[in-house]
Amino acid sequence: MFKIITTCLFALLSFNLSAQNTVQDEMGEFSIETTPKRIVVLEFSFVDALASLGVSPVGVADDGDANRVIPAIKSKISAWTSVGGRSTPNLEIISSLKPDMIIADMERHATIYEDLKKIAPTLILKSRGESYKDNLAAVAKIGIILDQDAKMQQLIGAHHVRMDAFAKKINSDKKFLFAISSTRGFTMHSPKAYAGGVMERLGLRSAIPEETEKAYVRSTLERLVKANPDYLLVGEYGDQTAVDDFKKSPLWNMISSVKNKTYLETNPILWSLNRGMIAAEIMAQELQTVIK
C-alpha cells in the first residue's frame, strides 16, 4: 500500500516537473517526456500527419517502394529509410535508425508491440480500416505528442475550412462510389472506409449507404449494377484487373456513371493508401474537377 502511494506521489511530482505529453492510444495511456525528433512510422496515414507539421520521419514502412507516398506529401519531407513491408516491418532496420518514437498501426502491429517498445516508445493508433473521423482523431493525438498541439488544431481547423469550401462548390446530389480493382477482384469502399468518409464529408451520397458495418465490400458486377453509382471512381492495381472483365459485359454500359461518361480511373495510392488531410484535400480537388 505504502509502495503504491509513493509511486503515485512520485508520478504526480514527475508530471509536474517535466513537460510531459500524454494521450490515450489503442493500448492505453501513452506519454513521452521529450519531444521526439527521430520518428519511425509504420503506416502511410502517419506520414501525412507528420508532413502537415513539417516533420520528416527517419523511417517509413513503405513496402520497399518510395513511390507509394504521393508526391504532394513527399515534397514536404526529406528522404527516409524504408523499413520494409507494412505487414512485416523489419525490426532490425527500425532499431538501427535509433528512433526516439515509433508510430504503429493497431491492426497490423499489435503482435510486435512489445518488440517495438524495446526499441523506442511506441504510439499505437488506428490506421488500417480507419474512417475519416478516426484519422482526424489520430492526427490530433500525434500533434499533442509532438508538442505541437496548437499548431495541429489550427491545421485541422484550416483543413475543415477548405473541405467546407469544396463541399459548397461541389454540392451534388448524385450517388458516388470509389472502388479498388485488382487481379483478385473488385472491392467497393463504403462510407466507413477512408475514401467513402471523405465523400461523406463533402456532403456526397454513397451508392452503398446500407453498408454501415464493413469498410471494404467485395463485389460482383451484379452488385455494382445494383449500386448503380452516378459517379464511379476506380483505382486499379495492375494492368489487367477485375474491372476489365466487367467492361466486356453489356451490363457495364447500363451503369449510370458509364452511361453518363462519369466513370473515372484514379490513383489507388492516393485514394486508398495515403489516408490523411493532405490526401483528402487532393481527393476533394479531383472530385471537384470531374463533377459536372
Binding site: 513491408g85 512485416t88 532499431s95 538501427s96 497490423r108 503482435t111 510486435i112 518488440d115 526499441i119
Partner: protein
C-alpha cells in the same frame, strides 16, 4: 551411399554452425563475423541490441522448430512406414490452423498471445479425433494415414469456409498461417524448448524399438515389443512435437517430410543415429529458410514457410523419383 556416422555428424554440425553464424551476421544490417562474437560477449557493442533482441532468439526458435518438425516426421515415417507421411499429412497442422482461425473469427479482440495455446489445443484435439476415429487401425499404418488425410481435408475445408464467410483481410492470423519466424522473440522460446527437452530423450529411448518395428510386426512382436503400444506412443510424441512447433511459427512445410529422407540416405536405418542427425538437418533447413527470407529482398521479409517449400519441394520430388523401398 552410406557414410561413416562420425563424418556425417561432424559435417552436419559444421553446416549448422556455419548457417547459424551467417544467420546472425547477414540481414538488412550486416554484421561482420568478428563483430558477432563481440556483440555476444559484451553488452556495449553497437550490434548487441540487434543480435540479442532479434537475431539470436530467431535463430534459436528456427533451430528448435526445425528440429521438432524433423523428429516428428522421422517418427511418423518410422511408424507408418511410408516415405510420404509427415505431420502435415496427418492433419496436425490443419487442426492447429483451424483453431487459430476460429479464435480470430469468433474472438477478434483476443490478445495475440492466445494464438500459440490455441494452436496447441487445436493440434492435440485433431490428434485425439484421429486416434478416436482410427482406434482400430494402429496395426494398419497406411489405413491410419488415410484417415489422417481425410481429416486434414475436412479441417482444410472448414478453414476455407470460415475465411470466406468472415474475411479477415490481412491480419495476424493470416500472417501466422503462412508460417514465419518474423516478430518471434525470447518470449516464444518457452513455448517450444521444454517440449523438445522432454520429448527428444523419450524419442531416443524409443529408437531401438523403432528399429525392430522396421523388421515387420511379427518379428517385432516375437522380440517382445508391444507393437500397438509403441505405435501409439510414437504418434503421440511426434504429434506433440509438431503441434508445439506449429504453435510457435505456424505451418512451415516440408521440413518433417524431407529431413528424414536426407538423413536416411546417408546413415541407413538405425534410429539412434537417425534421430539426432534428423534434428540437426531440420534445424539447418528452417534456419536457412529464415535467413533467405530476410536477405532475398531486403528490407521486405518473406514468410519462411514459402522458402522451405522452395527448398523442400524440388528435393522431395527428386527423392521420390529414386526411392525404392516402399
Amino acid at each position: 551411399m552410406r557414410v561413416q556416422p562420425r563424418i556425417v555428424f561432424i559435417t552436419l554440425i559444421f553446416i549448422l554452425l556455419l548457417f547459424s553464424l551467417w544467420h546472425i551476421g547477414a540481414g538488412a544490417i550486416y554484421i561482420a563475423p568478428l563483430d558477432v562474437f563481440k556483440a555476444l560477449q559484451s553488452s556495449d557493442s553497437e550490434h548487441n541490441f540487434i543480435v540479442n533482441n532479434f537475431r539470436l532468439p530467431r535463430l534459436l526458435i528456427s533451430g528448435l522448430v526445425g528440429a521438432a518438425l524433423a523428429i516428428s516426421g522421422l517418427l511418423i515415417q518410422g511408424v507408418i512406414r511410408n516415405p510420404l507421411a509427415s505431420p502435415d499429412v496427418l492433419g496436425v497442422t490443419s487442426g492447429a490452423s483451424l483453431a487459430v482461425i476460429t479464435l480470430a473469427v469468433f474472438w477478434p479482440d483476443a490478445p495475440t498471445s492466445y494464438i500459440p495455446p490455441a494452436a496447441l489445443i487445436g493440434g492435440f484435439s485433431a490428434t485425439a479425433l484421429l486416434l478416436f476415429l482410427a482406434r482400430h487401425l494402429l496395426h494398419r499404418p497406411a489405413a491410419f494415414a488415410l484417415v489422417g488425410i481425410a481429416l486434414a481435408a475436412t479441417f482444410g475445408a472448414a478453414i476455407d469456409y470460415l475465411l470466406t464467410v468472415n474475411p479477415l483481410e490481412i491480419n495476424t492470423a493470416m500472417l501466422w498461417l503462412t508460417g514465419s519466424v518474423w516478430g518471434r522473440n525470447w518470449d516464444h522460446l518457452p513455448l517450444i524448448a521444454p517440449w523438445l527437452a522432454v520429448l527428444m530423450p523419450l524419442a531416443l529411448l524409443l529408437a531401438y524399438r523403432l528399429d525392430l518395428l522396421g523388421l515387420g510386426d511379427d518379428t517385432a512382436t516375437s522380440l517382445g515389443i508391444g507393437v500397438k503400444k509403441l505405435r501409439l506412443l510414437c504418434i503421440v510424441v511426434a504429434i506433440s512435437l509438431a503441434s508445439a512447433a506449429v504453435s510457435v511459427c505456424g505451418s512451415i512445410g516440408f521440413v518433417g517430410l524431407v529431413s528424414p529422407h536426407l538423413v536416411r540416405s546417408l546413415l541407413g536405418h538405425r534410429h539412434l543415429l537417425l534421430l539426432p542427425a534428423t534434428a540437426i538437418t531440420g534445424a539447418i533447413l528452417v534456419i536457412s529458410a529464415d535467413l533467405f527470407a530476410r536477405i532475398l529482398m531486403p528490407p521486405i521479409e518473406l514468410p519462411a514457410g514459402i522458402l522451405t517449400a522452395f527448398i523442400g519441394a524440388p528435393y522431395f520430388i527428386f527423392l521420390l523419383c529414386r526411392y525404392k523401398n516402399w
